[in-house]
Amino acid sequence: MKLLTVLPLQFHMDPLGAIFAVLTLVIFISSGVFSLDYMKEEKNKRSFAVFFVLSMFTELALCAASNLVTFYLCYELLTVMSMPLVIHERSAEAKMAALKYLFFSLFGAYGALFGIYNLARFASSLDFVLGGNLGSDVFAANKGLLLAVAMAMILGFGVKAGMWPMHAWLPTAHPIAPSPASAALSAVIVKAGVLGIIRSLWYVYGADKLRGTWVQDVFMILALITVLMGSMLAFMEPVLKKRLAYSTVSQVSYILFGLAVSFGQSCSVNDTGLKYASDALTGAILHVLAHGFIKAALFLIAGAIIHHTGATRVEDMRGIGLKMPITMTCYTIVSLGLIGIPPTGGFISKWYLATGALASDIPVFEYLGPAILLVSALLTAGYLLQLMIIGFFPGMAFRQSVQDKELKAEPGMLMTVPIATLTLLSLLMGLFPEPVIELIRQVFI
């Protein structure tokens, strides 16, 4: 669909966009249902609802955009639409966080814009075509500039994906938003940055050109630093929602690392001659889905805990498993998924990411990458299982100090059903991964 001739606005839903769009719909709808209960007593309900829905539609438009100009417009619009979600509380802190979000995102978008201007000059068109529109002769003639362009786009879109060094907005802005909004922000809206990198590099630039260049090295280093830093800081963070935000910083960079190692190796050929997406790329897209479901569920659970007990710090949540057994069972399952313990979706994606990295044969990084992913998984276990342990095994002293009657605080159906749905989806991804993997493998042919 073409809207304008001067500035070509085009929409077309391809399989990759569809995967992101489905994720968007699932998470926004489940968070939306959750927010019906959660936001009941909040102020500014109406503005929240309006911008929540607007964010969803902008994200859907983003997924369906079929050239870089349209994509960029939706991308900027998404920042603007989701900012009111951050500012929801209207406190000074929320305002500062929202401003930080806005400025970082705009800064990143300008980096991407620089790339778009240059691509418009060198590429034959800005339409999304797998393999890119940038001729190899043009690339050879302007290699220095075009590599800088690729780096600018990676850094620019990387801001939204929370990649170091421009990640600082994420742990500030995500926890301050109401929980359903945090879920949407952390699970879907950060993925806009991932989609941006995929769209610009794979569909316009031609990612194969970047194989073995300094851009790939820098991208991998940045992603790995982010992975380790995010989990380490999450491990040291006492406030649950902030911990989850740092966890997002780390986990989204798993995806970015998967993208970085698959430059020049988007496809493999199996013994029957069929082409399919390489393991690292498959793992990256799988992790987009797995992390989406899991992180949304985790933020909703954090929201349910805050709503029902008012506790925000992890150490105040002792015995929470006795109060909300269903919620905390879901928490345990999704936590195991995020750590990457079978049989959950997180394990499958991590398996593909790591074996993909090893198969890429990039010196040093083929081993360093999986090793850092595992160290980060260990830290993930440290910061997520702590709540599971004190939640379900609060100790004799705690059990003797509370009465059974004051224990029950299970949230209502409007809260538990979205959480359980997301948990189930993450579990199903791990139990029956084949259909999803087959789907993803068809995307990059």
Partner: protein, 652 residues
């Protein structure tokens, strides 16, 4: 990657043993857990662990094995943390940490192995199937790049750490002496009897397939396994001697027996010996059985008197012939007394070591260097015999304490003697059945145990046509090793335990548990919980705050907000500064005056005063200027009039 299962004899045998153990354990649990709350949680996770364990034993490749292994490790956490006492939670934390860290290291090994297989064999259907892996190491230096054998080695070591952690091998045995005693006894029996064997299964797969004697070109792997095995065996045995808690003794004993099994595996790989590996296999089976019974008896004691300390439970077993017989069977079996199956398995391992010694002597005498010299192997043999002796000694310590000696508190002893109803018929029946198996297997070893080895020969790649294959179980040579062990055991018991580990009048067992030797508190916890996070946090905070700090710096530097002109409420800058100076001076003066004791009046606000002065000055100035200008105007007007007048009068 798809799940795949295999049903060869060894796997089926172990699946059968697991099922049997779970049945016995559940029968005991039904009685043991009667008075506990949260039974549902216990039974749910017991069943969950059962299915996961079955999955591990029946897995067809390492990928499937890993998946069930992780599920098993995590589900069994609930056993350890079950009663939520502080020490249980601490032990459970250690257990979980070891499981998760071990699992992740193992996963790294799997990644490396998977990559190596793909590189050598291309895209094959089931890359991590052990039969594929058997070819891998032997062909790796021909087919792959020169670094490939090293990568396979790295993979092997990673997986060894993962499996070793579950098996309780030195130096990752730390969780075992803590987790087993705090879990409910039926669960301890399973943890010790069968969960540790999953680790052994993994090590067997590595040693018999990937680094198998037939496909290897170096002895390093076998030597590593052997050394780990000897350390584990000796350490566990010594720790078990010191312990005065029945379940802790049994847990340490598990560590030690796992060491025996690993020693057998290592020996077998080092000299392509069929005896040692058969011994290891039989010891695995035997140990599962022994520990099931021993922990169950400990459980029976605990559910009656809720105590585990030897000084408290002393004399509980008197006048309980059934419990006595059951315990004795297992204790003598594990100690390797001839006639029971433990004797056969230990003898086979010992024979393997003896072969290794002779083999090494032969090679050394013909000038060939071996990875373990003759002296080292001799030391290993003696360590083996002494550890075997220790097994007898600590089992005697338990047996004599519980079933023969009287409690020092004679009233308590009378109560214990009156305890007739100490277990229900179901528990009793299950334990009797389990205990009968031990002498039956021992006495019919020529058929039954040989049958077991024959059955599993294919799965473990035991060469049944080898020269020494299970020929002499009862020759004088073999019996000699066993007898030396027994003699050492009696010496240790009567020479050391009765003399050094009890107080002078033999009324109390002294707790000599070496707390300072605790690797966990001394090394692992400080390093993992404090040192590494501290360093990493400092680095990560730096990275985290880099951009924020830069922005702050820029805002303080070149993007500094221009200062707003502040409006003075009164006066101007000059009067303000003058006023401030005067105010300071006057304050100084007042302070000096006060110090001198003079009375001072009210302080004056000089800023205000000067401002007022300035205002009045401005006012009068205005007045003056205005009056001056008016005067000047009049003057000018007068001047003009005068000039006009002069003009008029002079011109006309």
């Amino acid at each position: 990657m798809k799940l795949s299962f295999a049903f060869d004899n060894f796997r089926l045998l172990y699946a059968g043993i697991a099922t049997f153990m779970w049945i016995v354990s559940l029968i005991l649990s039904a009685e043991y857990m009667k008075h506990y709350e949260r039974k549902g949680r216990y039974f749910f996770f017991t069943l969950f662990t059962y299915f996961a364990t079955l999955g591990v034993f029946l897995s067809g490749d390492l990928y499937t094995m890993f998946i069930f292994f992780e599920a098993m490790s995590l589900a069994s956490y609930v056993w350890v943390a079950f009663d939520e006492r502080e020490e249980s939670l601490r032990a459970a934390g250690t257990y979980l940490a070891v499981s998760v860290i071990g699992g992740l290291i193992m996963l790294m090994g799997l990644f490396l192995l998977y990559d190596a297989v793909l590189e050598v064999m291309g895209n094959i259907a089931n890359p991590l199937d052990v039969s594929n892996l058997a070819l891998l190491y032997g062909t790796s230096d021909i087919l792959g790049d020169p670094g490939l054998p090293h990568r396979i080695w790295a993979a092997g070591i990673c997986m060894l750490i993962g499996f070793g952690a579950k098996a309780g091998a030195f130096p990752i045995h730390i969780w075992l002496p803590k987790a087993h005693p705090v879990a409910p006894a039926p669960a301890s029996a399973l943890l010790s009897g069968i969960l540790t064997k999953t680790g052994i299964l993994g090590i067997l797969m590595l040693s018999r397939y990937i680094f198998a004697p037939v496909s290897r070109n170096d002895d390093m792997w076998a030597a590593i396994i052997l050394i780990i095995g000897v350390c584990t065996m000796a350490l566990g045995a010594i720790l078990a001697l010191f312990s005065v808690n029945i379940k802790r003794t049994l847990a340490c004993s598990s560590v030690s027996q796992i060491g025996f099994i690993l020693t057998g595996i290592g020996t077998a790989d080092l000299c392509t010996d069929e005896l040692a590996i058969s011994g290891s296999l039989l010891h695995m089976v035997g140990h599962s059985l022994f520990k099931l019974i021993l922990f169950s008896v400990a459980g029976v004691i605990f559910m009656n008197i809720h105590k585990l300390d030897l000084n408290d439970i002393r004399g509980f077993g008197r006048r309980k012939p059934l419990l006595n017989a059951i315990f004795l069977c297992a204790a003598l079996g594990i100690a390797g007394i001839p006639g029971l199956n433990g004797y056969i398995s230990k003898t086979l391992i010992h024979e393997g070591i003896a072969h290794l010694r002779m083999y090494t002597a032969l090679l050394n005498s013909s000038g060939i260097e071996t990875i373990l010299s003759y002296d080292v192997v001799t030391v290993i043999e003696w360590v083996f015999l002494i550890s075997g002796g220790c097994t007898l000694a600590y089992m005697l310590k338990l047996y004599i304490c519980v079933f023969i000696e009287k409690n020092t508190d004679s009233e308590l002893q009378a109560v214990y003697d009156e305890h007739r109803d100490y277990m229900n018929p179901f528990t009793g029946g299950a334990l009797v059945v389990s205990a009968t198996v031990i002498p039956v297997l021992g006495l019919t070893s020529g058929y039954s145990l040989k049958g077991v080895v024959d059955m599993c020969a294919d799965s473990l790649r035991i060469d049944t046509t080898a020269e020494y294959y299970l020929e002499h179980f009862f020759t004088w040579e073999c019996l000699k090793g066993g007898l030396i062990s027994i003699a050492i055991g009696l010496i240790i018991y009567f020479g050391i335990i009765r003399i050094c580990m009890m107080n002078d009048d033999r009324t109390e067992y002294i707790d000599l548990w070496p707390k300072w030797m605790d690797l966990e508190n001394a090394v692992y916890r400080p390093v993992i919980l404090y040192a590494i996070p501290f360093v990493l946090t400092v680095i990560c905070r730096f990275f985290d705050n880099l951009v924020d700090a830069l922005i702050c710096l820029l805002r303080d530097g070149i993007f500094k907000d221009s200062k707003q002109q502040e409006e003075l409420a009164e006066g101007n800058r000059f009067t303000y500064i003058l006023g401030v100076i005067a105010g300071r001076l006057s304050r100084l003066k007042r302070r000096i005056l006060k110090a001198k004791g003079r009375t001072v009046g009210k302080p004056v606000n000089y800023v205000h005063r000067f401002a007022m002065d300035y205002e009045s000055f401005k006012e009068s100035r205005t007045l003056i200027f205005r009056s001056m200008s008016f005067g000047l105007m009049l003057f000018c007007l007068g001047l003009v009039l005068t000039v006009v007048y002069i003009f008029i009068t002079r011109l006309w």
